[in-house]
Symmetry: C2
Subunit: 220 residues, 2 copies
Amino acid sequence: MLSLVEENYLKAIYHLSDAGKSAVTTNALADNMNNRAASVTDMIKRLSTKGVISYEKYRGVNISEKGRRAALKVIRKHRLWETFLVEKLNFNWDEVHEVAEQLEHIDSPLLIEKLDSFLGHPKVDPHGHPIPDKHGRIHEVKQVQLSEAKVGTQGVLHSVNDGSPKFLQYLSKIGIRIGARIEIVEIMEFDGSMEIIIDDEERVFISRQASENLLIREAT
Amino acid sequence: MLSLVEENYLKAIYHLSDAGKSAVTTNALADNMNNRAASVTDMIKRLSTKGVISYEKYRGVNISEKGRRAALKVIRKHRLWETFLVEKLNFNWDEVHEVAEQLEHIDSPLLIEKLDSFLGHPKVDPHGHPIPDKHGRIHEVKQVQLSEAKVGTQGVLHSVNDGSPKFLQYLSKIGIRIGARIEIVEIMEFDGSMEIIIDDEERVFISRQASENLLIREAT
DNA sequence: ACTATTTTTTAGGTGAACCTAAATTTATAT
DNA sequence: ATATAAATTTAGGTTCACCTAAAAAATAGT
């Protein structure tokens, strides 16, 4: 059994390791969790004892299969709750993260199964992120950072990397939503900003930073 | 700001004091929280420092106005979540308590307001208990323990005192639900058990212990 | 009224999850 | 290659929420 704090660390490790593909350093974790490195070392040892990560001193941590499953359970709950908040309670997509951070730790398999059916077994959350099924399976969709695409690329906004209220409010303001059609008109050499057309209507300029956080599925 | 554990103590104090009407002893609290008396003394001191209870050594604790408001907020959340679980997620009324014990600590006023409207501003939870409004006001309904009524009494089951799964499953089994009409046919002198008619149909015998936990609104 | 019993508190200890300061290991730069 | 810098760990300390054992106060019984 993992504590609430342990679950949060594990989730951070999962995300920082890009779903287990790479190792995570102590400092990266400390940064992400807003804790000191020494505290992270403490926790790492505990998580290692519990078998959810593997750890070699000074070498960073890797999530184990057991840890991956635990992390995906929390992520499944987080994303289902976010969907509930937006679809049923009419939250805006920029208001859900903090609340879902709390709800994701509620421990009741029955609740999650019932919530899942209540929502109609959604595949993605309001930010376009896939919701793992009860066995921890995710159907990843091939998507590209807008910043990596070239002029002329057309696609559909599939998800956002940055879920912060500030970013999401900015997107709403300029008319970008999940599912919107996006076409790259021009890319500015000097700062990487780009001009795009949204839904064949609006032309807007977005910064390089913004385009890095927009993931599109390219039209073929 | 109260911790999760502090909220649980405060809620227990509220209930054990009959909504603040009487003092609560250390042992009663220890019993209720499944902790040792020494631990309770610790916590009592902390709650007293925070101003949510008043405490005189060896004299038990009394909830303060500030404490009462805090307790009612938790109770409001608990009962709204129970209603959600039963009305929207199709939980049985005997399955909701444990989950609601977790959900009641989620801290988001916006969430609770939205949940309240989603549910249509319910006045009572699935066990017939009144849901405090956002200002902590409760509309108590005049109700009597079935065990205190006399032969011939007719009324409607309004709420249950004991919310344990075992009791609720028993009630379901013999056909008793909130809102059912109940008429007392006979009371056995020797053990206080009684024969009742449910919804003018079923005749059943229930123990004194059961009748003490059934609260009816008498028909006038 | 005084002793025995019960209730409550105090004293001191534990693990979880943090901290700072110091020591150690690894990485970087010339 | 070695000195310096950066990253990480160790050592020791804190608060919260529990514990046991012992002491103190309140209550009950004769």
